[in-house]
Symmetry: C2
Subunit: 233 residues, 2 copies
DNA sequence: CTTGTCGAATTGTTCAACGATCCTTACGTT
DNA sequence: AACGTAAGGATCGTTGAACAATTCGACAAG
């Protein structure tokens, strides 16, 4: 009987993992999801103003609800809310890009310096493989998203939900900038090999080497980005 | 005449620094400020429900505006927004506390490992002095806020606005927990000396020592907190 | 070319209303 | 005693309309 009870308890405990999915749905949040996707895919361009009237009508929600969605995205730094002037898709300055890479060095650097869990290694390996596969297929858009997943997986090694969330937001912000890269191949291709190399270092437990390798990696990515970005300010 | 023009230009350029203060005031944000203060001072206790009707009436704003404020604080993790049930002052679990300290180790650890700027050192020195002064005056509440300023100043060394902001949020979240400490003196006193010691190490450029010292520091703070916190769950 | 003024357009905020959801209580069933 | 159901009240989610406040561009005056 003890067995029976404990197995039930186990099942219930497992179930608790899905609890997160229950509460998740309010119109405002769903609207925010839609807008977030549109922004990160480049449908709304940085600097563009999002009219309350036009969008609320287009999505069939009231202005008040739309404004709640705007607030959410504003806090994620995807939208810029200027009083009495409306909300605009965020325009990142070169300093913003530099700051984002400063944060990446801290977040990813800390992750790389600690022995990764088996789970984390698996996630990282998957992302590397996906990137290589996409590169072989000349699908550079897919390479880009796989690269992003790679770095997200890296941060996972910190075992911290809050750092994961911070990284998620950071990468969403960075996507605002990726669209300025005229040729996505030039930007994403060089890093596919490096991802593989970084993964190998991590797997072999050569953490110090991984850390310095990562620093060089991020330096170059930042410079590539800023060089392509600085002109049109 | 050139001189005249350029001096005017300079004056105008200076003025641009104050631009940030212009936009900053909407009713919703001011309401959020009020509520944030009330929460961090313990007026609203963790777990308490904040009624839209009661608070909107008390503050003399509409429910819609209040909801915008709630969204803001929800994103700062100070409020817990449960669909159709209202907003509650966030209740941190022991895992939350552990995670917060994980993030602190990353943020403060990275800061301590890089040579601090003169400005940063100054901010840190001020916080240390304030804490010592308050400790001498037996004002343990003030010691607590000075300690918080100390750690905020530490992170300043990262030279990253986003990390500063992350630290600000993190500390606001931690304040939710500080109120469970029955005797603030026991919690804050041991760290006044350590702040001084950490400052000395930084000033002398003994960064590695500072880093390991900080790790021990954070470990102890975390355990103190969790020990006082775990029981009442 | 700068400054003042006016009006259209948009946002900020409020209000009232209605449906949807949750909580509580009570009642009946097994 | 544990569980399923039902009813009612309270609160939230969302809407639509309304008005004040603010911005912005145009146009006239100096």
């Amino acid at each position: 009987m003890d067995d029976y009870l404990s197995s039930v308890d186990d099942a219930v405990a497992d179930l608790a993992q899905d609890r997160g999915r229950l509460g998740r749905s309010s119109t405002a949040e769903r609207v925010a999801d839609i807008l977030r996707d549109r922004i990160s895919e480049g449908f709304f361009e940085p600097g563009q103003r999002l009219s309350e009237e036009a969008i609320s009508e287009a999505l069939g929600v009231s202005r008040n609800t739309l404004r709640e969605a705007f607030r959410l995205l504003g806090h994620e730094r995807l939208l810029d809310h200027r009083l009495n002037r409306g909300v605009f898709v965020r325009v990142l300055s070169a300093e913003d890009v530099a700051d984002l890479y400063r944060v990446r060095r801290v977040l990813e650097g800390a992750a790389v310096r600690r022995p990764p869990s088996k789970q984390a290694l698996e996630l990282i390996a998957e992302a590397v493989a996906d990137a290589e596969r996409a590169a072989a297929a000349d699908d550079w858009q897919a390479v880009g998203t796989a690269n992003i997943r790679f770095h997200q997986a890296l941060v996972t090694a910190n075992q911290s939900p809050r750092l994961d969330e911070a990284m998620r937001q950071l990468l969403a912000e960075l996507r605002l900038v990726f669209h300025v890269m005229a040729n996505p191949r030039d930007f994403h291709e060089p890093f596919v090999q490096r991802n593989r190399r970084l993964f190998d270092l991590l797997q072999d437990g050569r953490l110090d080497e991984a850390a310095t390798f990562l620093d060089g990696y991020l330096d170059e990515a930042e410079q590539l980005l800023i060089r392509a970005y600085e002109p049109n300010r």
